[in-house]
């Protein structure tokens, strides 16, 4: 069995090309050989995430999903969280969550999950009244007030789940159609893997899970498949070229060949999401976080999850014959 890297053409090229390269041509990392070790890594990450979600008693649902009231305030001076909590204790405000967002101790999101009998508008009013009584008018500014009824939250939850499921199915089906069924299955498994790990990361970082976070998750779904398609496309191309090689060899070669592209594109995508995460402000903080984690995991899963699944399905097929 002869394997030649594409780096050294037999004919001497008329021109020597000098490229700036992260991954030199001919790199041959045995990704496929590492798949069992990576399987452990993946499962560990998923397990940690799920345990965290379990310990937190579910994700940190924003009021979009749980229903309730959120008041986003900005103080002129740095104010301790405890002071705000103190200002809001008593009255009908029982379970108030005060979270510091943004830089310094000036911006806070005050959340009350669930709406009492008296209606949600009353909650927003009593939060405002509590702040006014404690800090006085003019020392702070109310940036945002949101009130979501419990019914909306339930509908959103259903819609979000449906959307992620639909996306998974549509993507899997598309790839199965354009490539082969096993590639579709591989992409779908990779996608679920990415969503699970991202959810776990959201839980560990105690990021709020709201509407925009779901938007982020769906984008991660799209990106993950995007990446898987690129690798699968090269595998397909090489399978045609090298009919006599084993699938594992073809896969390894394909992953290595596309490795620099994978790293560069993920790199630029991670670069811009990092910019969003660090500079984009509190409103899209959890959204940017979702993208950041999802893109990294999505890149990893194209290499270590999607391809091994295809290989596994191939082996089963061979055995059955």
């Amino acid at each position: 069995m002869a394997m030649r890297s594409t780096g050294q053409p037999e004919k001497a090229a008329p021109v020597q090309h000098h490229f700036f390269e992260i991954i030199p041509p001919g790199t041959n990392i045995d990704f496929v050989g590492m798949r069992f070790r990576m399987l452990i890594v993946s499962w560990t990450l998923i397990a940690i995430g799920l345990v965290s979600i379990y310990l937190h008693g579910g994700l940190n649902y924003g009021i979009d999903f749980a229903g309730g009231t959120m008041v986003h305030v900005k103080f002129a001076q740095s104010t301790p969280v405890a002071d705000i909590r103190g200002a809001l204790s008593g009255g009908e405000l029982r379970e108030v969550v005060v979270q510091n967002v943004g830089q310094g101790e000036t911006e806070f999101q005050i959340r009350v999950v669930g709406s009492p009998q008296s209606g949600s508008a009353a909650v927003a009013d009593s939060i405002k009244a509590g702040l006014k009584a404690r800090f006085g008018e003019g020392t702070y500014e109310v940036l945002r007030v949101e009130t979501v009824g419990p019914k909306v939250g339930k509908n959103l939850w259903r819609d979000a789940t449906l959307a992620v499921l639909a996306a998974t199915l549509v993507m899997g089906a598309y790839i199965a159609l354009r490539f082969e069924l096993r590639f579709g299955i591989g992409a779908a498994v990779a996608l679920v893997h990415d969503v699970l790990i991202t959810l776990g990361a959201l839980s560990i970082a105690n990021m709020e899970f709201d509407l925009t976070t779901v938007a982020g998750l769906l984008t991660v779904v799209g990106y993950s498949v995007h990446d898987t398609v690129i690798v699968s496309d090269r595998i397909r191309e090489n399978m045609r070229k090298m009919r006599r090689e084993t699938l594992a060899t073809v896969m390894n070669l394909s992953i290595n060949e596309t490795l620099s592209r994978t790293l560069i594109t993920s790199g630029t995508a991670v670069l811009v999401t990092a910019a969003l995460f660090l500079l984009g402000g509190p409103v899209i903080h959890s959204f940017a976080f979702t993208l950041l984690v999802g893109f990294i995991v999505g890149t990893y899963s194209s290499i270590y999850v999607a391809s091994p699944i295809v290989l596994y399905l191939e082996k089963r097929q061979v055995k059955r014959r």
């Binding site: 945002r144 949101e146 959307a163 993507m171 690129i230 560069i264 630029t268 999401t273 959204f287």
Partner: protein, 521 residues
């Protein structure tokens, strides 16, 4: 340079100019008067500040109300036909009827067939011969449902119009929700009160003769109220300030088929007090027009043909069934056909909006500079071309927002930033491929050719999947999330146009001019 290349270059130049034309009003305010486009990019509520309200229409309640009314009508009809019902009651969405006299059954069926086409029998196998269960026909239920949302929408729109806010949005969402967006409104209390309050139905005489004045100068005791004319346009009415009656004296109103010559009619019934008032008014003003005013909007202004003293009247006109239905609804309920429930309320202050724009722009600038610099360092010449495509991409994307009137939200800005990070993927794929082909010993020209051709499949398939996720996101989301989905999908399209076709033109132009021995990628 070949002709195809010149044409394509021209096309891209035209697109660029168009994007600049659409975008200028967003950045230069006001744009010079001779500039062909004046609409700046529309900002979402999260960026410009304002109030978003989501109302649920209790549609089941409306269906129940319809059933109750049908039941009352049925009771009256049966009494008129001298068929006594021993019990007539509603249980959920089913009306139970038990006849005192079983022999009258066929007569009842006739009444039902003639007068109540919307009711159908529910099969109840163990019912006694004199018992019947009736319910609304599914089509009828659907009609009530459609009607209710539409009418609630119309009423909210009217009330918001009075509120006087610039560019309000009142939209139906799903089958039973209504979204109200009020840009620039920080304190939604007044708006909420206006939307949620019970409607005021008044009857006023139209002003008549010279003392009524004109629309510009209404006379003493006369005011100008507006309504919609038959063509749907705003129409001004001169109406006497004095309110003759309010809606509370009306006990019922319904559509009746009317006569062949006059078309549909709306029948109404007044209570004893109302009958007396109405009798006096109509006797004194035969021949004048009486305006039916709902929340300050003239709904209809029929002419009084004869004194109406019996407490029962009829309004005829050239309305079709739906218009008659609307008018009957207005008379009956005053306003809302079903209770509205506030489901969601979001208010964004103007400073947060400004802050969000600033932060969004900052992350956009930083992200873009980093990506551009990286591409330039890594791919040199090829990177420069890709960077050019990237800049053009953002320009076209933003131009499309302005041209199509899409609403830019904060997640939308994030979508643009993301597009910057992902748009270069096509170029990375192509450039990596060109490098591979060059390493195989191909000439630059052949390598470029092969690079574009081979990379295209991967680019196409990968972008189709991302586009699909964008579409699903659009379907799922509301407001800002939709803004993000739109940006994502638009960004994919524009990045294909600039990243694949745009850069290709540049390579073709360079290659066609001279024989290259090297290419900088």
């Amino acid at each position: 340079m070949s002709r195809s290349v010149s044409y394509r270059l021209l096309l891209f130049a035209a697109i660029t100019v168009a994007a600049v034309v659409f975008l200028l009003p967003t950045f230069v305010r006001p744009a010079p008067s001779w500039w062909p486009w004046h609409q700046p990019v529309r900002l979402g509520l999260d960026l410009q500040g304002g109030t978003h309200l989501l109302y649920g229409v209790d549609i089941d309640q409306a269906v129940d109300t319809t059933l109750d009314r049908q039941m009352q009508d049925l009771e009256r009809e049966l009494r008129d036909a001298q068929i006594g019902a021993s019990t007539l009651e509603r249980d959920g969405q089913v009306i139970h009827l038990r006849l005192a006299n079983v022999d009258k059954r066929s007569q009842v069926l006739d009444v039902l067939k003639d007068r109540f086409p919307g009711l159908v029998m529910v099969a109840t196998p163990d019912a006694a011969p004199g018992e019947m269960s009736l319910t609304l026909e599914p089509r009828e239920i659907q009609r009530v449902r459609d009607n209710v949302q539409e009418q609630a929408l119309k009423i909210i729109r009217n009330r918001i119009d009075q509120f006087g806010v610039a560019e309000p949005t009142v939209q139906a969402q799903g089958s039973d929700e209504i979204v109200v967006q009020l840009p620039g409104i920080q304190d939604p209390e007044r708006a909420k009160e206006l939307i949620g309050r019970t409607a005021l139905l008044e009857f006023k005489l139209l002003g008549e003769g010279p003392q009524a004045g004109t629309v510009e100068h209404p006379g003493q005791g006369v005011q100008v109220l507006y309504g919609r004319s038959e063509t749907g346009r705003r129409q001004a009415y001169l109406v006497e300030r004095r309110t003759l009656m309010t809606g509370d004296v009306l006990t019922d109103a319904s559509v009746s088929p009317g006569s062949a010559t006059e078309g549909m009619a709306v029948e109404f019934v007044l209570d004893a007090r109302g009958a007396k008032q109405f009798g006096q008014v109509t006797t004194a003003s035969v021949g004048r027009r009486l305006a039916i005013v709902l929340d300050g909007m003239v709904e209809s202004a029929p002419t009084i043909r004869e004194p109406i003293t019996g407490g029962r009247g009829q309004i005829t006109g050239r309305f079709d069934f739906k218009e008659a239905q609307d008018l009957a609804n207005v008379l009956r309920n005053g306003a809302l056909p079903a209770p509205l429930k506030l489901l969601e309320e979001r208010t964004v202050g103007p400073s947060l909006g400004k802050d969000s724009i600033r932060k969004g722009m900052l992350s956009f600038a930083v992200g873009t500079v980093l990506v551009i610099a990286f591409m330039l360092v890594y791919y040199r010449g090829g990177g420069a071309i890709a960077d050019g495509a990237l800049v053009l991409n953002v320009l076209i994307l933003a131009g499309a927002f302005a041209a199509f009137g899409f609403t830019l939200s904060l997640p939308g800005i994030a979508g643009i930033v993301l597009t910057v990070g992902m748009a270069v993927d096509a170029n990375v794929l192509i450039l990596e491929r060109i490098r591979e082909e060059l390493r195989l010993g191909k000439t630059p020209r052949a390598a470029i050719e092969a690079g574009y051709e081979r990379a295209w499949y991967a680019i196409r398939d990968s972008n189709v999947t991302t586009f699909c996720s964008g579409l699903i996101l659009f379907q799922f989301g509301t407001g800002p999330v939709r803004g993000f989905a739109v940006t994502l999908c638009m960004g994919i399209l524009t990045s294909l146009i600039t990243g694949v076709f745009g850069t290709r033109v540049v390579y073709d132009a360079v290659v066609s001019r001279r024989r290259l021995s090297t290419v900088s990628v």
